[in-house]
Amino acid sequence: MSATLPPVSPAPERRDSPSVPPVPPASPPPSAGSARADAVGGVRRRPSPFIVAVAFTVSLLGLLPLGYVIVTGILTGWTELSALVFRPRVGELLANTVGLVVVTVPLCAAIGVGAAWLVGRTRLPGAPVFAVLLAAPLAVPAFVNSYGWVSAIPSLNGLWSGVLIATLSYFPLVYLPCAAALRRLDPTVEEAAGSLGSGAWGVFFRVILPQLRLPILGGSLLVGLHLLSEYGAFAMVRFDTFTTAIVEQYRSTFNGPAANALAGVLVLLCLFLLVGESGARGRSRYARIGSGVARTPTRRSLGRLMPLGYLFLGGLFVLSIGVPFTSVVRWLVQGGASVWADGVVGEAFLQTVGYGLIGAVVTCLLAFPIAFLAVRYPSRLARGLESVNYLTSSLPGIVTALALVTVSIRFVQPLYQTMALVIATYVLMFLPRALVNLRAGLAQVPVGLEEAARSLGRHPLGAFLGVTARFFAPSALAAGALVFLGIVTELTATLLLAPSGTRTLAIQFWSKVNDINYVGAAPYALLMIVLSLPVTYLLFARSRMTSVS
């Protein structure tokens, strides 16, 4: 919009970034302030009851998984529940899961910030190329990355293997928002520090790093939530977390009490992360105040440290992209044409694209009323509806899936094992991805334009479609793309809920990997990467767009 920096608004607004995957917190309501002013200043009509009803229904539905965990916990009874929770096995899982989070999150943060600084603030030749390449790991699903590593080093197992694979898969979740934020920092603050005697390191630690607090925290939260919910990547290296244990219990008992008890503990861990992140944000303002455009930040020369910079960036790229890619290619070459020939590959591809497209469209449609209320009719209630959905999407897919399997078998049989139920689950899991983007896009459209169109005689709907919808179409596209990406690589919920005979790329990949048929799994791995790449690039491009040009 205007050339000034988008105000990074204080606490409540920043509810946006957390639970959603790769959206750089740069995108939170860039000009929410102005839209809000419009809404307040303009005639405040009541929102359409239909929109309110949809927003309410979707949000209440979002409480289903959490409600399920609580209700089954109560129904199980304290005696049995405590026997299932307070046992050595749960202790092991807790140690593993907490250990994984405690080691991986700081690692991802350090690597993400370091990489963002190197590509954004140094004169390293080729830095712009690395800027794109380092977003690429997001196109490789963690379980495909794990498959690549296990193919290269079959003996990988345990905590450190889990840390290795998770770090390489998830560091871009910190890197992307940090890189975007770095581009927007006002260099004058750094220069002031420099003129007061701070050296390069001093400036980095005392000036730059504190200003990256929000993207680091937001990205780290995402990493943490991914760690808690990932199944395939850790199962492949025999590292047991709560999620892998729940899946095993599911395999042994369907939805037995032990699985539900573990799910309860896992949900508590998620809540702990969510609360911890919002508590750690603090109340400082990070927005640049002042008129005019900030200058483009200056880049530093690395001098003799340049080779080290290359080693870091190059090494990161080789480990996160090179290893899985090499493995996939190696198996593809070994398999030749025959692994593509059985017709299942094409079918799985089409089914996956179908689920992805339908899921993306439905999710965006259902997210729209919530985003609309949040932007045009901001209130405590609207914020409440919004946060419910963030909460649900922070729950691991296996928990959401267990809840929906049970509820649909018991209470809504006609929906059980239907495509509709799978789509509903995707909506619950990925709604915030759509919400964040739709909301930001909507906030950028001055409501005055729409009102002008109405005053010139357009029907309200026509005015909305002709003016507002056209402005925020790119955001809607990004929203849909993100949901699509989530669905393409979704494994556990699809396995549990899909109609019989469903074969998605992720399901087929996993079935082949379980038979240690790595050759047969390769085409599915490749296709998942191919489907994810454009979306990943879009993410990267958008993270740039929000920065000062």
Partner: protein, 342 residues
């Protein structure tokens, strides 16, 4: 909660009109199978797909598979009850068949089908039947374990000297079936003690193939798996079994357990004629021959179809005598959960 459920309905209506799995259509009046069936399949997908393809070729009946693990699909059927969309249930081991049978969800198997199967391979209830069999083995890496160091009995693996030296896939239905045999043969307290020792001794992998691969790579000296993983890999590239040998426990040891894969028709099947025909096909000459000549290397169980010549003959296994309908999978899962294995 109620509003949430209303939400599900609304969402469903909004989402799309797909109505999921193909449900069976009824059979024409002449009694020959037609339409389609849904099979809850816990057997290896490749094997069941081979059966299904051949069956479709013979009868024109379309077969849709829902793949999963024995106890997962068994418990799922119990939860679904009579509203299940499944026509047929196939497992790798019998405990899950008993689970569904005890819940009263199976229709009696056609007499003609039962007549094809020897008595020892069917439960007394007559509500399901054996369809194939597999033998427990101890796979080992001869570079790490000499023949004289091999365990004489499965029970020996509880000994502290085996700590960290043997592998299994405790989360798998296969291993859980082996434990159910031990439970049947040795009782609950002996089994509980053995499982506790196992928790200390064993290295847990996910899947029998993975166990064998680890033994082959020398990560661990030995492990408890079923026989056919080894033969299937040998028949292929051998890349995951070349450095391994198999040790059969015999002597009616719990470790010589011959696990019976089962098949049954759901009482709620929308297409019982085609479902019964599928079961008859699997236990008939054509279906069993797929076991003999195919890549599954599981044992055929009917008279007149011998095992793949590469296998040790069924009669030489000296397996313990166990009534397949007595195996209790639920108790096994509970005991294994208590022992910290799950």
């Amino acid at each position: 909660m109620i509003v949430g459920i209303a939400g599900v309905t609304l969402l469903g209506a909004t989402a799309c009109s797909a109505n999921g799995a193909t449900s069976g259509s009824t059979t024409p009046s002449d009694g020959s199978p037609s339409g389609s069936i849904t099979v809850y399949n816990a057997q290896h997908e490749e094997l069941t797909q081979a059966w299904a393809d051949e069956f479709t070729k013979e009868t024109g009946v379309e077969v849709t598979l829902r793949n999963g693990e024995d106890p997962e699909l068994g418990n799922q059927l119990v939860q679904e009850g009579t509203a299940s969309k499944a026509d047929v249930f196939l497992t790798e081991n019998s405990p899950a068949m008993s689970l569904v049978d005890n819940a009263g969800l199976f229709a009696p198997v056609d007499k003609a089908t039962l007549a094809q199967v020897p008595d020892q391979f069917q439960p007394s209830s007559g509500n399901w039947t054996g369809i194939a069999a597999r033998s427990t083995v101890f796979a080992y890496n001869p570079a790490l374990l000499s023949e004289d160091q091999l365990p004489a009995s499965l029970l020996d693996l509880a000994d502290p000297s085996w700590k960290g030296r043997w592998a299994a896939s405790p989360s798998g239905a296969d291993f859980q079936a082996i434990v159910s045999a031990m439970l049947e043969l040795k009782g609950e307290s002996a089994t509980t003690a053995w499982l506790k020792a196992m928790k200390t001794n064993t290295v847990a992998y996910k899947g029998n193939s993975t166990v064998m691969k680890a033994i082959n790579a020398g990560e661990i000296p030995g492990g408890v798996i079923y026989h056919y993983y080894w033969y299937a890999d040998q028949a292929g590239t051998g890349e995951n079994s070349a450095n391994t040998r198999m040790h059969y426990f015999k002597n009616q040891d719990p470790g010589a357990f011959l696990s019976l894969s089962g098949g049954g028709v759901l009482a709620s099947s929308p297409n019982p004629v085609a479902a019964q025909a599928f079961l008859a096909f699997i236990t008939g000459k054509a279906g069993q021959t797929i076991l003999q000549t195919g890549t599954s290397f599981e044992y055929p169980i009917v008279d007149g179809v011998s095992a793949n010549p590469a296998l040790l003959p069924l009669g030489d296994l000296d397996a313990p005598k166990i009534d397949p309908s007595q195996l209790n999978g639920t108790l096994v899962t509970d005991l294994m959960t208590q022992a910290g294995l799950l």
